[in-house]
């Protein structure tokens, strides 16, 4: 692609800074509690300037979600360079990665009930495309792992996919971290165990 002009680079850098702030605030307080004033203050610009870049609060959240999905796709791409590994190991690695993001306080949390937000997301073509990209990558691995007998063949792939997405923002992680009884790494190992091996754990 053509080389960006200086002005365009500046603009993209500023928008990246905005999305970064939004991402952190979404992870920290959630969409409803986050205010546009806070975002502007965190970035260090006036609120009206924010609206020159993003047309609404919902658009800010969508941008943060798109960035997250892009990061996930980048991580998935690194796994694809190891074709010898088992598909189930790839899935486990993705689950571990998402838990690490959450532990680092960088997992944006959106309320599933907010209708204005849902409307903005479901009408955002870029977001929908990224979501489909991730789903297809994971879906292929899920089917492979089931064929290899490493995942329960009786589970519809759909359920496995939804479960992996849900575990990425599982409140159990926050509760465990709050209790302070375990290290970050052991929290992740325990949750990976309950996710893939269940509470029974092969008993």
């Amino acid at each position: 692609m053509a080389r960006k002009s200086f002005k365009e680079q500046m603009l993209q850098a500023r928008e990246a800074a905005i999305v970064s702030s939004v991402n952190r605030l979404l992870a920290e307080k959630g969409f409803d509690a986050m205010t546009v004033d806070e975002v502007a203050a965190d970035v260090g610009i006036a609120k009206a300037s924010l609206y020159k870049h993003f047309s609404s609060k919902e658009a800010l959240a969508a941008a943060a979600m798109i960035r997250l999905l892009d990061q996930a796709l980048a991580f998935i791409a690194t796994l694809e360079h190891h074709p010898t590994a088992r598909a189930v190991d790839h899935l486990r690695a993705v689950a571990r990665w998402s838990m690490q993001v959450q532990l680092a306080g960088e997992m944006p949390s959106l309320p599933s009930q907010n209708s204005a937000l849902r409307a903005a997301l479901t009408s955002n073509q870029v977001y929908l495309q990224r979501l489909m990209d991730v789903s297809e990558k994971l879906g292929a691995w899920i089917v492979s792992a089931q064929e290899a007998g490493h995942l329960n063949r009786k589970l519809p792939p759909e359920i496995v996919l939804y479960t992996l997405f849900a575990r990425a923002c599982d409140p159990v992680l926050g509760l465990l971290k709050l209790s302070g009884q375990h290290s970050d790494e052991s929290i992740i190992e325990l949750l990976l165990s309950t996710c893939f091996d269940g509470l029974s754990g092969g008993a």
Copy 2:
């Protein structure tokens, strides 16, 4: 206890009606999207009258949570009349019950980040007591099931408890219901399977 006067019965009946409306609206829209005006309209009284019964929106949510925990304790009590069953079966039954509540659209959903709400709940002695009651009942079963080898002995009981609470409001259930591919009963069986047996499913 002394027999309630007619007035007291009326008052309790009205408050029960309020809490019932709150519970349904919390399940339907979540705490943030629910407005006190809606609650008043649903009950059929004026908003100011609501505030004669409950001092704040947070108090309404707390009352709904207390009712839910009371229902859980009642269900747990019915299980205790079957002393021959295994502890792990009791836990599975409780998990199934909570999923049925959620499928019925009666599981109140509260944002874990709302600070005002958290403050109201953690300073509500009745709520905390009920939460401890449920936790102790389940905790005893968890330890028993681990000793019997029916639950993974390597998992701290705390994690099992948190996981059961989290599965009661697992968003996977809503996603599956939305897809319309499965019956309510098969959704519950699949989620119980992923919860206790994991995605690997003993593969």
